[in-house]
Symmetry: C2
C-alpha cells in the first residue's frame, strides 16, 4: 500500500517529527487524536475541531457496530461523510471495548462472543468480523483485532500474546480495502520478554504501522516507560508507532521521548465534562469556589476560543448551573491544550531541542494541579 508513506523529517534522540500520508490528508506527527466514540467528539462540532486544527480523529468500532450499525454508516457513505470529518480517521478493532464494556464475553481461539451493553443482545467478533466492520466504517487507519490482558498476569499475557499474533495474521488476510492502513498491535503486559517477542513477531508481518496496546491499564509510569523502550527498540523506526489510549500531557511527552508518534485518549473531553481543565502546569477544577470571581481565562495566553473569550468565573457559573456549554467550552480548551503540546513538541524535535523542551515541560507540570 504505497499511499501510506511515513516521512521522518527529523529525529532527536528517540523522538521523531514525521508525516504519515493518508487518503484524507497528511498527519503531522507526533499527533494526539481526540476520541469520537460514537461518531462525535463529545460536545464539539466538526467545525470547532477544524478550528482547533485537529487532524486525526478516532472512533470506536464496538460502539458504532452496535449503534447505529456499520451497515448504516456504510450506506451513508462511511464514517468521514456520516460525521462530516474530512480529515484522517482511525478506528480501533472493537477488541478493547468487547473486553471492558460488554456484559458477557466468552473468548475462544476463533474470536469473542459478547452481549451488548446497550440491549443485552448477543454478538460475535472475530478478526474477520472486526476487519469487515472497519472496512464498512472506512477509516484511514484500522486496527488488528487483539486481546488486552491484565498487565501483571503472566499466564494470561502469554495466552493473549499468542492469540493476538494469530489474530494479527488473520486480520491481514481478511483485509480487502487497499485505501486503509491496517496497524498491528503489540501486547505482553509488563513482561519484557513477552513485549520483545510480540514486537518482533508483529513487526515481521509487514504492517504499515504498529501500535502498542495494553499500557495505561494499571501498570506504573516506570513500567510503561520501560515497556515503550523495549518495544520501540524492536519495532522498525521507519514506520509510525501508536500508543493506544494514552493522553495525559506527561504521558505524551514521555511517549514522544521514547519514539511514539500517535496517541489517542478520551481524557480531554471526559475531564471537560467533569469540570476539569488541562493546563501546562496541571489541572484546574473549575467547580472550585476559588474561581467564582476569577476574571482570567483558563490559561492566560492560550489561543483557544474558550481562553480568548471567557473567564473562569463564567465557566464556573456554567458548571454550577449545569449548562452543557461548559462541556463544550472546556473540551475545546483541553483538546487545544494537547494539540498545541504535540505541535510544540514537533517543533522542538525539528529544532533538535526536544530534551530541553521535555525537561522544562515536565519540571513545571504537576499532574494533580493547583485546584485538582
Amino acid at each position: 500500500m504505497p499511499q501510506f508513506t511515513f516521512d521522518i523529517a527529523a529525529a532527536d534522540g528517540s523522538a521523531r517529527a514525521g508525516t504519515f500520508h493518508t487518503p484524507h490528508g497528511p498527519i503531522a506527527t507526533p499527533i494526539f487524536a481526540p476520541v469520537g466514540t460514537q461518531a462525535t467528539v463529545k460536545a464539539v462540532t466538526p467545525a470547532q475541531l477544524a478550528e482547533l486544527d485537529a487532524s486525526l480523529v478516532l472512533s470506536n468500532t464496538y460502539h458504532l457496530y452496535l449503534r447505529p450499525g456499520a451497515d448504516l454508516v456504510a450506506e451513508m457513505g462511511g464514517l468521514h461523510r456520516f460525521m462530516q470529518w474530512p480529515r484522517p480517521m482511525l478506528t480501533d478493532s472493537g477488541g478493547f471495548q468487547v473486553f471492558s464494556l460488554a456484559e458477557m464475553r466468552k473468548i475462544d481461539e476463533d474470536g469473542v462472543t459478547f452481549k451488548s451493553h446497550i440491549d443485552g443482545s448477543t454478538h460475535r467478533f472475530t478478526p474477520e468480523v472486526s476487519i469487515r466492520v472497519q472496512e464498512q466504517l472506512g477509516a484511514d487507519i484500522i486496527m488488528a483485532f487483539d486481546e488486552c490482558a491484565p498487565p501483571y498476569d503472566r499466564a494470561y499475557n502469554e495466552h493473549a500474546v499468542a492469540r493476538t499474533h494469530a489474530w494479527a495474521e488473520r486480520c491481514l488476510k481478511a483485509q480487502t480495502r487497499p485505501d486503509q492502513a491496517l496497524f498491528g498491535i503489540v501486547q505482553g503486559g509488563v513482561f519484557r520478554d513477552l513485549r520483545e517477542q510480540s514486537a518482533a513477531f508483529i513487526a515481521s508481518l509487514g504492517f504499515p504501522g504498529h501500535a502498542i496496546g495494553g499500557l495505561s491499564v494499571g501498570e506504573t509510569k516506570a513500567e510503561m516507560h520501560a515497556m515503550l523502550e523495549v518495544v520501540n527498540a524492536v519495532l522498525p523506526a521507519e514506520k509510525p508507532r501508536y500508543l493506544m489510549g494514552v493522553g495525559s500531557p506527561e504521558d505524551l511527552i514521555n511517549g514522544i521521548a521514547r519514539g511514539v508518534d500517535i496517541f489517542d485518549c478520551v481524557l480531554p473531553t471526559r475531564l471537560a465534562r467533569h469540570a476539569s481543565a488541562m493546563t501546562r502546569t496541571g489541572r484546574l477544577n473549575l467547580m472550585n469556589a476559588a474561581f467564582a470571581r476569577d476574571d482570567c481565562p483558563i490559561e492566560p495566553g492560550c489561543a483557544c476560543y474558550t481562553c480568548r473569550t471567557f473567564t473562569r468565573a463564567y465557566l464556573r457559573h456554567l458548571i454550577v448551573a449545569k449548562e452543557m456549554l461548559a462541556s463544550t467550552l472546556i473540551s475545546i480548551h483541553n483538546i487545544h491544550m494537547l494539540l498545541q503540546l504535540v505541535r510544540d513538541a514537533r517543533q522542538a524535535i525539528l529544532q533538535g531541542c526536544f530534551a530541553d523542551f521535555a525537561d522544562s515541560f515536565l519540571a513545571s507540570y504537576r499532574p494533580r494541579g493547583k485546584h485538582a
Copy 2:
C-alpha cells in the same frame, strides 16, 4: 433617553419593519430573541449565535439573581461581558419566574416574597429590587416588574392589572441608568376592557417601548390574536411592541401581522433538546425511525451550519446515542429557522407584500408537523 430611537422604515397593514437603536447596536425588527436563561443560550456558543446573525438575546433576571448573583455579574463587567454577547440584550423583570418557578410566593401590594427553586432560601422582589438587579445585569432593554394572572380569572386579572400599573410607575421612578430602555408591560388576561385600560395606562407613562404580557399562557390562538389587536390599537405605533414568551412560527407571523416587533421564546432550544426540529412546514421529530437512513438535511435548502453539513440520519444517531452534539446542532437549526423567518417577514414588509408572505407561509405550515 434619545439613544433609544425606533425608526420605522415601512409599514404594511399593521406589520412594520423598523430599527430599534441600543447602546450595543441596532435591532432590525421584527426580531426573534433566543433565550439564554442562565447567561447562555443552551448548547450554543456566542460564536455560533453570531454566525446565525442573532441580534437580541434575552436572559432571565430571576435565574441570574439566584445564580451566580447579580452582584457577581456586575463585578465581572455586566451580562454582555460575562457571557460575551456583544450585541443587544434584554432582561425580563423576574416576575414571571417568581410566579411560575419559585417554591413559595406571597404577593402583597409592595412586592413578592418567594423561596428559591434551587436551595429553598427566601427572597423578596419589589419593583425597586427588580430594577436594581436589572441595572446590575446591564441589559440594553429591561422590563417593568409585573404580575401575570391566569388568563380566564376576571377578578385576579383586575387585581393584577392594578398592581402591574402601580409597579410600572415605581419601576420608572426606580430607574437610574440612562443607557437602558425600560419597557412597560400590558396585562389583562383575555378581557378586552382590561387590556384596553392597561394599554392606555401603560402607554401614558412614556416608556420607550411596550410589552404585551400574559399571552400564550393557556388562552386560545383566537383570543391571543384578539388581544393583540385590542392592545396594539391603543399602544403608540411609534414605539416598539414586544410580545413576551411567544415563539412558534405561526405565532410570530400572526403577531407581526398585528403590529408586534419583538418576540422571545425558549421554544427553539427546548424543542431541540427534545429532538424536535422546526421547519417551514412543521416540526420533525428526529427520533423517528423513519429518519434512520435519511440522507437529507433537516430542511433541504436551509443555509444553517447543521443543514449545510449533516444528514437527518446522523442527527437521529446522535439523539439515539444521547450525544449532546444533537442538542447543539438542532438548536442551531431551530434558531436559524426563526431568525430567517423574521428576516423574510421584514423583507416582505419592506416590499409591501407581507399579507401574501404570511398567507403562503400559514397555508403550508402545519403546527403538528409530519413526524411530530
